[in-house]
Symmetry: D2
Subunit: 425 residues, 4 copies
Amino acid sequence: MRVSKPQGSPERNASLLTLYQSVRDATARLGAPLSDADATVQSMPDASPAKWHLAHTTWFFETMVLEQNLPGYRVFDRAFNFLFNSYYESIGARQPRPRRGMLTRPSLETVHAYRDHVDRAMASLMQDDLPPAVADLIELGCNHEQQHQELMLTDILHLFAQNPLRPAYKDPGPIAVAKTDSSPPRYRRFDGGVVEVGHDGQGFAFDCEGPRHRALVEPYELADRLVTNAEWMAFMADGGYRTPLLWLSAGWATAQSEGWTAPLYWEERDGAYWSMTLRGAQPVDPAAPVCHVSYFEADAFATWAGRRLPSEFEWEHAAEGEPSHGNFVDSGRLRPAPAQAGQPGLRQIYGDVWEWTRSAFAPYPRFHAEEGAVGEYNGKFMCGQFVLRGGSCATPANHMRATYRNFFPPDARWQFSGLRLAGDA
Amino acid sequence: MRVSKPQGSPERNASLLTLYQSVRDATARLGAPLSDADATVQSMPDASPAKWHLAHTTWFFETMVLEQNLPGYRVFDRAFNFLFNSYYESIGARQPRPRRGMLTRPSLETVHAYRDHVDRAMASLMQDDLPPAVADLIELGCNHEQQHQELMLTDILHLFAQNPLRPAYKDPGPIAVAKTDSSPPRYRRFDGGVVEVGHDGQGFAFDCEGPRHRALVEPYELADRLVTNAEWMAFMADGGYRTPLLWLSAGWATAQSEGWTAPLYWEERDGAYWSMTLRGAQPVDPAAPVCHVSYFEADAFATWAGRRLPSEFEWEHAAEGEPSHGNFVDSGRLRPAPAQAGQPGLRQIYGDVWEWTRSAFAPYPRFHAEEGAVGEYNGKFMCGQFVLRGGSCATPANHMRATYRNFFPPDARWQFSGLRLAGDA
Amino acid sequence: MRVSKPQGSPERNASLLTLYQSVRDATARLGAPLSDADATVQSMPDASPAKWHLAHTTWFFETMVLEQNLPGYRVFDRAFNFLFNSYYESIGARQPRPRRGMLTRPSLETVHAYRDHVDRAMASLMQDDLPPAVADLIELGCNHEQQHQELMLTDILHLFAQNPLRPAYKDPGPIAVAKTDSSPPRYRRFDGGVVEVGHDGQGFAFDCEGPRHRALVEPYELADRLVTNAEWMAFMADGGYRTPLLWLSAGWATAQSEGWTAPLYWEERDGAYWSMTLRGAQPVDPAAPVCHVSYFEADAFATWAGRRLPSEFEWEHAAEGEPSHGNFVDSGRLRPAPAQAGQPGLRQIYGDVWEWTRSAFAPYPRFHAEEGAVGEYNGKFMCGQFVLRGGSCATPANHMRATYRNFFPPDARWQFSGLRLAGDA
Amino acid sequence: MRVSKPQGSPERNASLLTLYQSVRDATARLGAPLSDADATVQSMPDASPAKWHLAHTTWFFETMVLEQNLPGYRVFDRAFNFLFNSYYESIGARQPRPRRGMLTRPSLETVHAYRDHVDRAMASLMQDDLPPAVADLIELGCNHEQQHQELMLTDILHLFAQNPLRPAYKDPGPIAVAKTDSSPPRYRRFDGGVVEVGHDGQGFAFDCEGPRHRALVEPYELADRLVTNAEWMAFMADGGYRTPLLWLSAGWATAQSEGWTAPLYWEERDGAYWSMTLRGAQPVDPAAPVCHVSYFEADAFATWAGRRLPSEFEWEHAAEGEPSHGNFVDSGRLRPAPAQAGQPGLRQIYGDVWEWTRSAFAPYPRFHAEEGAVGEYNGKFMCGQFVLRGGSCATPANHMRATYRNFFPPDARWQFSGLRLAGDA
């Protein structure tokens, strides 16, 4: 990974501790509305139980940081290394991913005790000056945990959507809600050229965001807002889900075999569309960005609209300079971002929905996975996935930036994923 | 079903109430060691969450008895009819069986409140004289719940066996333990002839146990005790799991595709066999009856031993007259049955492990499923399953009798199932 | 197996040779209309290519008879033992059943040369006096080949039904056509009692037909003719395929997942039903017996009709004494059996469609599989299958008898299978 | 698609006719060694029967060219449109791809008659001046058929590899053999920069090869020859197939579930490796390029070797200027290309094995699928596949060029696919 400048200074230690504590607190708050059962069940192989997220992020600090760097550290429970390793082949055998939901024990209470145990040890470790490599690992662990914060929400939503009772994760109160914007979309033109993309090493970034490098971008244009539910309903009304020529071949096959006729979580009730949300089932808001669509659907929509999805470099080039802030604030309360009224530039860049790009997730020039376990972080997933840019209403605010590369397979729908249209200029 | 004589008498009402309350109490005690998470997760499509068992047995009384017979009864929650119907097509749509584990809500606490709500209503209903048909349904509901008591234990054991921590359901204390018996097996001879089998209508029985009828049984012999773990290990050591000629064709195919090399839940640790049990992982006791074997395995073992499995009528004819009592006593505490010291007859008939017979589960002559929902109780499963007789250490004591017909598919292993050898005389 | 009296006499030799040659000739005639491609493709795992049938039946004689009993016999091709062994574990490894259709080589021509090679050797062997055990094996081989004659036709029909061109195996000319009978069904009453069933050892029988033994049969009645297409259409019109309460649970699940709405091979064209047959697509004849229905469907139909399927012993007891003759004559030309005009007894017993019984395929009392390869003939399939009795229009005439036990799984539809109704008397 | 300059001139007509006839003849010659059965069976869903290739390429001309452009053209058989449409949604329903092997009819002979029928009509059509759009379609059809020529060989090889007899498609005689080269690999350095890639419209190209456009390529180096079997065996000996850290996550999962331990078609016999080829099983030649490896394996090998796969633009930039000629000559006889002795540049660029690149198959800037059926040619497959460059020993010689983009999913192994290593300079 590329991380913030190694300094080993007391200032960095202090800000790391603040970051650590705020991230850990935010995770705990996200888990608060969940019962032991809610936190244990796995609704599909791609999703993980909330309890597993809570424990796995903790295991990361224990295994990557504490065991090697805090003398006398006592491992909380040796068995947890098997239970809560995600996919690190270099660290050993682990509970198979599709069987994570079998772990009714340890209980949610024990997992919280595990978190406390590790938090105390981390606080102790961070009292002293840290070698830069250790500080880097802690910063990585915090950003890793922020990724899991969003996954916790997406996975809980998927779980609750399987329940005919359609329970609310948290209600009332605005949570994970994208901004509405029903103004006609306008297209902004960009000249492109040989531009620089990728992270420059100032501040934290994941390894796959670098090295910063040159890319050739032809002139293009980009919509100033996201595609809305109203526009999606027009696509549906025009037979979008029944017209194979709009679709990629694999997309059409998936849509047919899965019976897709609308975004995930939508259901028709008495002629109106409702969608399952973290506040339970809600009427679909025409002015809100469409969400929970796959790459396949996004691509078909763009074809139908006579447009295309942007490449990840087009997106990044356009987004540089846009203010980065999301809905998911540090104070711990979840609230929507303030409306970006009167802004002349691109709207809904951060904090609404992740935006599918047409770019396959691939290594940047001269990218090399690091040695050891952290080298497994991103590189080995560079196959069969597409890049999403921006950040959703469930993404922590300080976790979004122009160079961030999220990625999912083209049939994934349970993330907060939508789209913005592009075209050749 | 065939049930106890319809009398409508106050005596019957009183004894029904006693039965109802003791059964409901026993179920609650069985659920007591479980956390909300334990009670919610479904470990495989054939198993159900404990919470589902707790609610479904309650739903049976609410739907079959209270709604039609208690004026003014208020349904606890309309949605529960969808959630907790098992397979009654005549009662309506329901949560698909493989998705029962998605129901993190209602919580275990709410399910207990549901049970209390129905118990109060049932007590109120049973204050008055009951028409015989209603009394019959209540008696059926109690026996139905006793079936689910055993299933709760088998399903919890399966769930906990998926957990690398191998948690104990209840420990210490003897629970669901079969009697040991390492004496050399002796064979008792029976003359057979045209004998009467099936339930005679005195006391409760399930519909599939009748009508009582004549059956022709040729002379046969039956081992006086169950096959032991020591004998099973001899079968394994002799290549039993690697010799296709011992197996039914479908059994061999299953054993190969599933990788069977020992009974379910066995694992080798440093050269010794351990087995997952309700008390956690325990060393395999050579003198105990082998348990958690499928029909396929039981049949292969019998072929290897130069014997065969008994037919269900051979078993029933031999078992008539044997005292019926199990490990699972009414007082609510679980304890093993007293040793049947000095008994000259068949041993381990009741309360150790269910015994596979060679008989396919089929209707008796002149059997007719009843009209309505209760007609779906057993008849529609009379295909592709084999009969087991006796009763296991997890079966309620007053739920075992010579005519009882349990049934499972030939590849099922997660029940407390073993075998007793037979032969032609 | 139980076979005709061992005599070792010249007379037996002569009649065996006649049988052998007539059976082999009949097989060759059945293969004559097929191209190399027709004879090679496998349409589903349960079906086999015609070429495989032609070779496997030949392999049986080569492996079971010639290799051990004809001094100096030269094996045609060593590789064929792997290619054309069906399921004999004791004889060694073999081409996996679902991959039989990969064998484009050897060609059909080579397989015919294989047949000729073995036929010459068999003729040579049969010139001399044969030990009874060898004669028994040859007789078994002839009957085995007759079983495959019918399977060749069922498998070719299934293959051709997958082809949108709906090609005819043979047309014009009556082939494999059941007798029509639209008279109102009448029920014949039988007293039952302790009756003798099973083969008595006079003449050939397969091992599973014996030992002859006593069985207790309660009074019953049996329809004098088969269920017709017209009656089946009434079942369909009455919602038979949409009413779960008529079905076994496993049957309903199968019908739903497979989308059954009519017998196999039926399709609707302009409001009328057509069925794929060996003569290509033909209009469904209302007076003909319904065919290509599974046990699940047959059972649901019987429930709908307020009747039940007969047990195999009820069927056998009733059929004893009925004349046995089918459509499939020795002379080599295929023609329907003569109408049984004026017969007062049961009609359509032999040579129309196989009749599902309610009996699971299970061993008779004191049945023991023989030692060696022939012991694998039937015994290992005694699980998960139901017995069919009688014989179809595709069954060789001299291959049908009252004790014959055909068997298939309850979801099998591609055989010539129908039903006759029964009831309690 | 981008095609050769539209001219409508007599010269173009004449050369088109020559091309058409030579391509059609070559296809017929490729089919000559196959029996009706060989040409009918489908060995897996991704492969097609040879008969289907023969008919589908013909259907292309009939449907895309003749029906609309030859007045009075009589369609050979209306049913063939259903049978032999591959994936053109705009043209209508079709035989499902995994069921192409069910078509034992029409026979191979009829398919040849179909070819003759269309060839005569095409000759008639090409007598007259053709509108450029029609000439373009014919040229596309010829190139389309050449693609299927290679697929016929790969699919036949896969089919024959399923046969335990390991039959030879054609033997003796050199067919589809890559050049050997065991010299130590040397790396050539390229400066890159903003280069032009993609087809320039001179001569035929498929639509996905254009538009020609600029691309930014950083300095890189490329091995002057392909990876050999000897090198692959070193990878295997070093535990390449047992070391997860070398693999992409999806690659490792595939390798485990499929049990990969060597390239497809390799088997060990007495300690030596043999490989199934079009000449039957042959010893693996250490000096020959490794073949029948997936992208997953190629990528793991490159990681093991401390290198990487080239991008498609790196490959194209380096290959421009290399002479293009393959093994597969127009004269109709198959022979290996002449050894490129003494060549100072890159070797084995064309006509040995297809070379996996690290580039996901994606549209070039400003690519737009055409209107109508031909628009379905490539665009809808731009998801989940990787680009291969060069051409194999089974590729027609005049079908290879520097801009050609072949593509397959990352787990595909049955093509003639290998790799060349690259690195950053």
